[in-house]
Symmetry: C2
Subunit: 469 residues, 2 copies
């Protein structure tokens, strides 16, 4: 098995472009080395041991994910579209418009991801793209997706992405017009300092942008009416859409007023780490001095430092129940007098230590309490969840650490369920949009009593309303 | 840009496996040649001109799509899982189960596709996979997806696929147990002969299968209860699930009783085409004499012949209105007395001529009629849609041909919208699950009157209830 098995590479062969593998291999490896070194600097800046098992290959993984996620810099639209333009009859335009002469073609709901040029975090894109044919010629449908992907796989800003896809398709297909609508979703981490001030923190920032050429050039053109009619039921509000040339403030949460206010209070980003991030941007083929990118390394480092490794342990033993983590016979007898209490949908934010990419979701906690016993407050549980979230993590460990910490506080019988969406399942080769991961820890009675476990698990609400998009 | 930019190939590098590009390239090209020759035989068997522009590269495209879709034959699970097993602390099992010791991990909603070993059409898979950890060791989450993909990318049957994924993960991770649940969806073409007999033809055949090892070996095991609790709201009915060892009749519609009954009446498949399909199966690395595959070439050819190129034209001119396709002045004046009539959601089935893969969806037809005028029947429109569907097609052409044919019957003012899901957008490199394509043809008044167009387009119901899954 090798490179020829890849669909994308295959597409290039199909279009008559082939690059020697060996040569590219050497070049890539050279650049990967520079990125890997920079990632090591970042890990050290976070206070991590770069030789720890889970982190040992993290520089390699981050480097590969970033290369994969920005491979669009090395792709050419011409290579993709050429050879995929097909002659197709149309109608005499006195009769009407169809097929290769004036027929409108729309491909809807293409899932893409891109990297935010402001903060380097991936953002998700639901892409709808169409064109009005001209010259008795249509383009293979998959090429609309492939071309959009070329520009998505770069450091981007939504409006710029829409404009680039639109212009490239217009040049490549030479149709009567091209229309692009993008629904973009950017993860929005709360600031660790202000996390308890923002009770209604929104986990996502969303923006709707569009770009049009030819018959779609004017945002009030008739062609847009047909286009939007066929995007019905996709949650697109035409009044809220941004068009080419609109000058809106940056959508990225790292540049929002709250973040700026908070970050102005804290010390400036570690300059060694900032330099390392700038070198990564350069290795990807970008100019770190491009005006949109100048502040990016510093913003990324400030965000990353939320996950600094702290040696502070949670000293909670004895807080409530005095560190019970095993059961004695008397206690067992009393278990039947207890009932299940639960805290559901506690939001959490964390960072995957294998890929330095966010994962995010909700924690559900169940425990057994005596009738009449006053359970501990939700805010303490939230604090514990945040404490273990804001680190380099894996979901399995996060789940265990929360369970171990709350167990002595809650009498030893606890169940913890963590449901999360992992950016690393999207913004790398596997691109599994919509997948989600659930992990469970069961202690005491919950590890043996199926009915208790089932009763708690049944009380968990639909994941679509609890942290996923 | 080259092979190193691919995430999947990157994953192999990450796991320390590398195969010389040049060598693989030659081998692949040899096999591709054999598949291409076989595809040419199939196209000629369909009565097509293999030098026609849209078909010229079809053998190459089909060959690449098939190689891509069956690359799993050349992948090894060991290469994927090795290097992605991480040490992770667990709990003393007297206290409970969490992390690397007894913690349950589930990855839900992985979109995959596979090729049906009975008929060679791709089928979609929604995969849910989990394991209970053991030995203070967890596996990188993406590897669950990658391993499932290795077995999906082969000629498969759902239960066998679930069993293979389960066994491979069990051997690779050595956990306390592995659980796999697959929701599989197979396109179900109506037989062209019986299309008007099946008024409630279901466009999809669905099956729910599962496989378990270790603590999931017994289908009534407690571990399954936790697993299913976390798959709530995914339309999974535990009572309808198939478990390993259940002996159900083949799910593939090509082997269903109706298809068998109909096909028994028609002549046997063209032996030259059957031999060509058998040679394709062999080139992919499969044994065409494996018992599940023996009848596959013949079934595929019988299905393919539904799309035989016929020289019969639709002789409908004069049927109703006498071939009007242009308007005169008097007619223009009368247009305001007309109202929009529509036939929505006429199902269609077709075959993409670029990839020999199905596309399927609904056609919406609108036209202007005089008040009191009796519109032509839905069944005639359905016949026209089927006539143009059952060919090698592109959606743009299908739309135009339907519009051109019905226009003279309906007075020259027609709008045709075709909404479709293309298998070729899923079962190749781009894997855009959930995407859909809309095309429009507008004739007469509909090509100039935005309000008439908008009024019709607004009447089209949600696409999620009209042909997509």
């Amino acid at each position: 098995m090798g490179c020829l098995d890849d669909g994308r590479f295959g597409a290039e062969l199909e279009n008559g472009v082939r690059i020697g593998c060996a040569e590219v291999g050497l070049e890539e490896e050279g650049n990967n080395g520079a990125i890997e070194d920079a990632v090591k600097v970042l890990l050290q800046g976070l206070g991590e041991d770069i030789n720890r098992e889970g982190l040992r290959k993290t520089p390699l993984r981050v480097s590969k994910a970033l290369r994969e996620g920005t491979r669009g810099y090395k792709q050419k639209v011409k290579d993709i579209v050429q050879g995929a333009l097909f002659p197709e009859a149309g109608l005499d335009n006195r009769v009407g418009h169809a097929g290769g002469a004036g027929g409108l073609v729309i491909v809807r709901d293409l899932d893409l991801f891109s990297y935010c040029e402001s903060c380097l975090l991936p953002f998700q894109v639901k892409c709808h793209v169409g064109y009005v044919s001209s010259g008795e010629r249509v383009v293979g449908l998959s090429k609309l997706s492939r071309v959009a992907d070329v520009f998505a796989k770069r450091l981007q800003e939504p409006q710029h992405l829409a404009d680039e896809v639109c212009s490239a398709l217009h040049q490549g297909i030479k149709p009567a017009g091209v229309a692009v609508v993008l629904q973009c979703t950017h993860i929005h981490f709360p600031n660790i300092e202000s996390i308890f001030l923002e009770s209604n923190h929104q986990a996502w920032v969303k923006i709707l942008v569009s770009s049009g050429s030819g018959v779609f050039e004017n945002k009030n053109a008739d062609a847009w009416a047909d286009f939007f009619s066929l995007l019905k039921f996709r949650g697109i509000n035409r009044d809220k859409i941004h068009f080419r040339g609109s000058s809106e403030p940056c959508w990225c949460p790292s540049q929002s007023s709250l973040s700026a206010k908070v970050s102005s209070k804290i010390e400036p980003a570690n300059p060694v780490m900032v330099t390392a991030v700038a070198s990564i941007i350069k290795s990807l083929g970008e100019d770190p001095l491009r005006k949109e990118l100048i502040g990016t390394p510093s913003r990324f480092v400030k965000w990353l430092m939320n996950f600094e490794n702290s040696n502070i342990d949670m000293k909670l033993n004895g807080f409530l129940c005095g560190g019970k983590d095993s059961l004695n016979a008397n206690e067992e007898d009393n278990l039947n007098n207890k009932k299940i209490c639960s805290e559901l949908n506690i939001p959490f934010w964390s960072q995957c230590e294998h890929h330095l990419l966010p994962f995010h979701g909700v924690v559900h906690i169940g425990y057994l309490i005596f009738d009449g016993f006053n359970p501990i407050g939700k805010s303490l549980l939230q604090s514990i969840v945040h404490f273990y979230g804001f680190k380099l993590q894996v979901q399995e460990r996060l789940t265990r650490q929360i369970a171990e910490t709350i167990s002595p506080l809650l009498g030893g019988h606890v169940i913890v369920v963590v449901e999360a969406s992992h950016t690393c399942m999207i913004s790398r080769g596997i691109e599994k949009f919509g997948s989600s991961t659930a992990t469970i820890a069961v202690l005491g009675r919950f590890s043996t009593d199926l009915a208790a476990r089932a009763s708690f698990l049944q009380s968990i609400p639909s994941p679509t309303s609890s942290g996923e998009q």
